[in-house]
Amino acid sequence: MLKQIEGSHAMAEAIALCRPEVICAYPITPQTHIVEGLGELVKSGELENCEFINVESEFAALSVAIGASAAGARAYTATASQGLLFMAEAVYNAAGLGLPIVMTLGNRAIGAPINIWNDHSDAMSMRDAGWIQLFAETNQEAVDLHILAFRLAEELSMPVMVCVDGFILTHAFERIDIPEQAQVDAFLPPYDPVQVLDPENPASIGAMVGPEAFTEVRFLAHYKQRQALRLIPAFSAELGKIFGRATGGLLRTYRIEDAETVVVAMGSICGTIKDTVDEMREDGVKIGVVCLVSFRPFPVEALGEVLAEAKDVVVVEKSIAVGVGGALADNIEGALRNLEKRPRLHSAIAGLGGRPIPRDSLRRLFETAVTDPWEGPHFLDLNDRVVGREIHRVRKVRRSGSTAENILRQLALTSQLPQD
């Protein structure tokens, strides 16, 4: 049913349609509206047979989900940013135990300096934890991906993180098609666990494993996640047939036929990039975009296929692996490595801590990549003058103080100066 609805609330409704049995809630901006929405659905009785537990931390949120999932219940939680870091130990544990928990990540920057706005630093911090990580471009896709996530998680007995851009998606009111219960039921069978805590058939779960078996356990986790490369397209097609719209998949392409420059990005920024591509196409620039949905597992082959004919690949990502550059760009490089005609790779870091990513800046970036390529990561719309001044100042004074406060002070001062 079509609704004009907030993204978070639409996700809450979609999650409720998946009939979760245990929901653990802890507030952290910007995912809070999702668990609030679910709380309302449970309290009002619309979502039956569901325990809604207000926990005392994100660490407890995922721990309660671990217990519930191991005991055979369909478990869900949501978090963001610092919350994901606070539950980090449990994030690895849930994957290691092979528990099919679904968690929404309302993507948000990580402090310090504390920042509540959107980027992908949080998701990137857990990229090797063993979770499947899916990125939604729109709120419609966020709705669909959650339904896909439960099926995928339970099929593989592996946790799935649905990454949705904080505020840009979570707080946006849009026209969203919320599926019918019967449609979701047709797609998602009841949870049938591969392992369960059962007094009739007692088993020990989570015992200590030594060097003689640890490598094999990890190999199988890797192997199992690679299975998702096959399952994500299959389930997406099945879901698409039921919902009557294309959804999910490992990645989506936009105007890449004959494209010499191909942009790769994840999440909501793909929308702005598509607009930029349209604009540049009108001017005769052969450019297209690949929107990556599945970051983990990383679809090396699928990416290789869609990037094979490109001359330039520009990766726009909302996180910075400090000391290296772009983590997504690094991964994309792996996908390009074995191509016959290897395209040039350009890495750009954009939208950190909620910095807007305007079309003009993107267009300049894509043009520069071809005409005047840069080395290493390029920080989109970096205020060079502020950075330069701060570097010089720090060199002069030993007790130079906090970088964040200094930058803010500079900005406050310069805003009072006449513009040159």
Binding site: N49, E51, E56, A60, V64, P199
Partner: protein, 348 residues
């Protein structure tokens, strides 16, 4: 079996584990099962006991935790008709019972992390509720996993009054990692991180926490301390706790021969002395109020308890008592006064 005394004690609670008779062997609290009728015998005396923690595990000789866990979980198994799931924090108990592919647990058992046993148990209990099952849930861990790293999850489970019995096996330190100080380590005790060096060797005074009191402050339905020196009392408390729904907490004093520096054969003696000197008060509380304290039968000076353990050896160097022994005695005296540990056994 010499000098067996028989004491008539008023019933504490009308439940099946409550003994109508108490036998005391001279010098110990061990009750001779053979001297009482079958119906009055302990869980362990029964052929039908669940033997939840089977033999063959890798605990040290004389491990108080292994003993406490076996009695506690067997009692819980009987009380729940074997319909029980256990969640375990990381620690000695987890490691010595389950190196794959072996396990000593004869009940469904889950280990997740060091600091989240209470929260995981909450999740298991929630799953049972939503599935309409009557299966009961226990969480267990050592003092480090309970009073330190697991404390936030524990407090959360308490305040939500989740239907979980949490059992803490308190051996007063991080024994699994090689005997380091925890917030349950008593003053003056030597550990690897409170070495017997400097002007005030061992753990400092005026620090640490006694989680049973904090549990009581949560107003949960049931809190108790227990000791492996009185296994019947331990079983009784577990059975009583299992008859209650909501958050429950039992902390069992379990001597660690390795960490405390004592012979394996002294485990029960040490546990008994810890109670008899007043250092480890044994009590019960319901809904925020202390309802019963186990009386000291034959009070001993705390130095008798301390002298048996190498972790306190620095208090007795050169045959002279360190003045800090008197400070520990003062702690014991304060416990005795606070919980009314002297006098006849009765409900308070």
């Amino acid at each position: 079996m010499t000098d067996v005394q028989m004491t008539d004690v008023p019933a504490l609670a009308p439940d099946e584990a409550q003994q109508k008779l108490k036998f005391y062997q001279k010098g110990t609290f061990t009750v001779g099962n053979r001297l009482i009728s079958e119906g009055e015998r302990s869980v362990q005396a029964s052929q039908a006991r669940s033997n939840a923690l089977t033999s063959g595990h890798r605990a040290c000789q004389g491990c108080g935790e292994a003993l406490g866990a076996r009695y506690a979980i067997d009692a819980a198994m009987r009380a729940s008709g074997n319909d029980l799931i256990a969640v375990n924090a990381t620690g000695c108990l987890e490691v010595f019972t389950t190196p794959y592919p072996e396990t000593s647990w004869q009940l469904p058992w889950l280990h997740s992390l060091f600091g989240n046993a209470a929260a995981v148990a909450t999740g298991v209990a929630a799953a049972m509720r939503v599935k309409g099952k009557k299966t009961r849930v226990i969480a267990q861990g050592g003092d480090g996993g309970t009073t330190d790293i697991g404390f936030q999850c524990l407090s959360g489970m308490f305040e939500r009054n989740d239907d979980v019995l949490y059992i803490c096996y308190d051996n007063e330190g991080y024994m699994n990692t090689g005997v380091q100080r925890s917030s349950a380590t008593p003053p003056a005790a030597r550990t690897a991180t409170t070495p017997a060096l400097g002007p005030e060797p061992g753990n400092v005074f005026g620090t640490g926490k006694f989680v049973p009191k904090i549990a009581v402050a949560h107003n949960i339905p049931y809190v108790a301390t227990a000791t492996v020196a009185d296994l019947h009392d331990l079983e009784r408390k577990v059975v009583k706790a299992m008859a209650i729904h909501g958050a429950r907490y039992i902390q069992i004093n379990v001597p660690c021969p390795l960490g405390w520096g004592a012979p394996s054969c002294d485990t029960i003696k040490l546990a008994r002395f810890a109670v008899e000197c007043g250092l480890y008060p044994i009590f019960e509380a319901e809904h925020g109020r202390v309802t019963h304290a186990r009386k000291i039968r034959k009070q001993i000076p705390v130095r008798e308890y301390l002298k048996l353990q190498k972790r306190y050896a620095h208090l007795f160097r050169g045959g002279v008592d360190d003045p800090r022994v008197a400070r520990i005695q003062a702690i014991c005296d304060a416990h005795i006064a606070e919980y009314g540990l002297l006098g006849d056994d009765e409900e308070v």
